[in-house]
Symmetry: C2
Subunit: 349 residues, 2 copies
DNA sequence: GTGAAAGCGCTAACAC
DNA sequence: GTGTTAGCGCTTTCAC
């Protein structure tokens, strides 16, 4: 392209390269008069700073990437959208990297990715954000990161969701609807949010003075298929649960499928709810009762935080500020998939 | 980082910088002996070429981006996955840019994005790939692109899906099931695929010697909501259609919702089908009969094609090869949402 | 075939 | 406050 360089601007404004550099970097110690002259030249010439030149000289690309695996696409979609919004405002690009959480060479793969793209900031979602070796590698390479997930490793900043409260709220709601046989599908056992969710579930029972039926707790993995499988197990229980609460919507959708395929009516025969409020939850019939997870906000904030930190980072050192962990609360959204428990409990098949 | 530069390698191997450069760029005119020496040094030192240095010197970043808007998330998810696979194999990063198709300043926004990231290749999906002004801007800026979509502008390479055949196949299938009142929901009127789809639909009728009932053709926009709306209209027809065929799955899901919310049974009362086979189609009950759109393959190929072209492009010029348009056929996937037409047709509400 | 020098666009360190 | 010089890591002349 007819690229206008910083040199052209300098000549046009009758100043030195460095002064122009100072102006475009918003540095102090530039006379207003000069600044204006330079800005005018930039306008007139249509100058755009070449990020590559900057990156090379500063040894910081300002590129960031979202590391994700592809389980729970609805969740990812929302988060991605929020992040992109933040990037767009900050005029930054977002790299995407799709990795397999279970890959034994995960850390090396990510490292190679960083070397290839020179990103210097990463947004990590679960389950990646809980992988200690990964975080250690990033620290070693001096790559900044924001973790999306409940803080439990004391590393970097993280933006979390209040899984315990969400779980508590849903359970409380179901108990209020007089459900006494609630099936609960846990999240991925290796993710912190799963334990927190279980705590919330139990807390609601305890406060209601009721005892949890352990037979109605099933293991899930946050995936659609695991929701289906767990539902199949739970539905074979006697008495059959009058409600099933899955730790995320992706699994709840699996439950819904399993229930409907057995010709049970939702919510007449059985209530279903999840957590997250992904787009799909309002695209199935009946719409899912859930907890709204402010993923868009979280994604947006994560992007802004990360970019802000990269832009301000003077020295390269891993000088992470005080723990900036922020926890977001969800909000109960009552839709058509839940109702009061059916009066008579039949022993179904 | 302990970054090893090309200079270090040169010293270690006892050759000049340039020779190393030749080796890592796989250029001809290097003695095998030299090449080996250099390669050994690269190994020993763990050298990785800094893409930024290259980008600056060559004025080509090799970065590519996927331009998308967020309608039809399932479609996007699949495409994205395919593209990422290709990028990963080629050791390239993928930038993501989410834009609003309807924005009046779309072209400027994309241009600013290119200036900010210096991407020199773009993958365009519909509806972006049909925007002539956008393509013109890209040509002017000498940014390569691959269009995902039916070729109709004679610009660049494109990977297309055979929408006409897909539509024909579905319609043919429904007619074979003795449906005679098929509601058809068109795609976005500004996208070429929509017209092709309509042609396929009509062709199937014609070949069967039947006449299309124009009242049963409704306008859609490829979005979930537009599918719901169109279904609402179609279901009020007398006689009510015994099947509804939507031009993509996203809309078909909207139809399914609308139908189920009216307490109609699928497929007993009404059959539903779509096109694309997005993940969601096997996550609803009943699973959707559809045409499998090889989006993963298309995305993968698009990435490989684009990257390949960038890597080989000697001179910057927009020297696009002969038209490499490739059309992929879909494949009928029969699932639970379709069955033979109900015998007696009731006039419903 | 190979190497020396110059330069991509920008910023860092140090003068003035 | 501002300008000068050197250099980020790589590639491109163009000699040899």
């Amino acid at each position: 392209m007819a690229s206008v360089t910083i040199m052209d601007v300098a000549r046009h404004a009758g100043v030195s390269k460095k002064t122009v550099s100072r102006v475009i970097n918003n540095e102090a110690n530039v006379k207003d008069e000069m600044r204006e002259k330079v800005n005018r030249a930039i306008q007139e010439l249509g100058f755009k700073r070449n990020p590559l030149g900057m990156a090379l000289a500063k040894n910081r690309s300002l590129f960031i990437a979202l590391l994700s695996d592809n389980s729970s696409p609805g969740y990812l979609m929302n988060l991605q959208k929020g992040i992109l919004q933040g990037c767009s405002e900050e005029q930054m690009g977002l790299f995407l990297y799709d990795c397999d959480y279970r890959s034994p060479t995960l850390v090396q793969e990510v490292e190679a990715y960083i070397d290839n793209t020179l990103v210097d900031g990463l947004i990590l979602r679960p389950p990646m954000c809980d992988k200690l070796e990964l975080l250690e590698m990033l620290d070693r390479k001096n790559v900044a990161y924001i973790r999306i997930g409940p803080k439990d490793l004391n590393r970097g900043e993280s933006l979390g969701f209040n899984s315990a409260k969400a779980s508590y709220d849903i359970t409380h709601y179901l108990l209020k609807l007089e459900h006494r046989h609630i099936g609960f599908i846990l999240g991925h056992p290796e993710q912190r949010s799963s334990q927190l969710g279980e705590e919330g579930f139990r807390k609601a029972y305890k406060e209601a003075g009721l005892k949890v039926n352990e037979a109605l707790i099933a293991q899930g993995y946050y995936t659609y298929q695991s929701g289906m499988d767990a539902a199949a197990t739970l539905l074979n229980n006697t008495p059959r649960p009058t409600a099933i609460f899955a730790a995320n919507d992706e699994m709840a959708l699996g439950v819904l499928y399993e229930v409907q395929s057995r010709n049970l009516k939702v919510p007449a025969d059985i209530s279903i709810c999840g957590i997250d409020d992904i787009a799909q939850s309002t695209k199935v019939w009946p719409n899912l009762t859930t907890i709204r997870h402010p993923l868009l906000t979280i994604g947006y904030q994560a992007a802004c935080l990360l970019i802000g930190r990269l832009k301000n980072k003077k020295t390269a050192g891993p000088a992470r500020g005080p723990d900036g962990t922020q926890i977001f609360d969800g909000e109960l959204v009552i839709r058509a998939s839940t109702s009061t428990a059916p009066k008579a409990i039949e022993v179904g098949t």
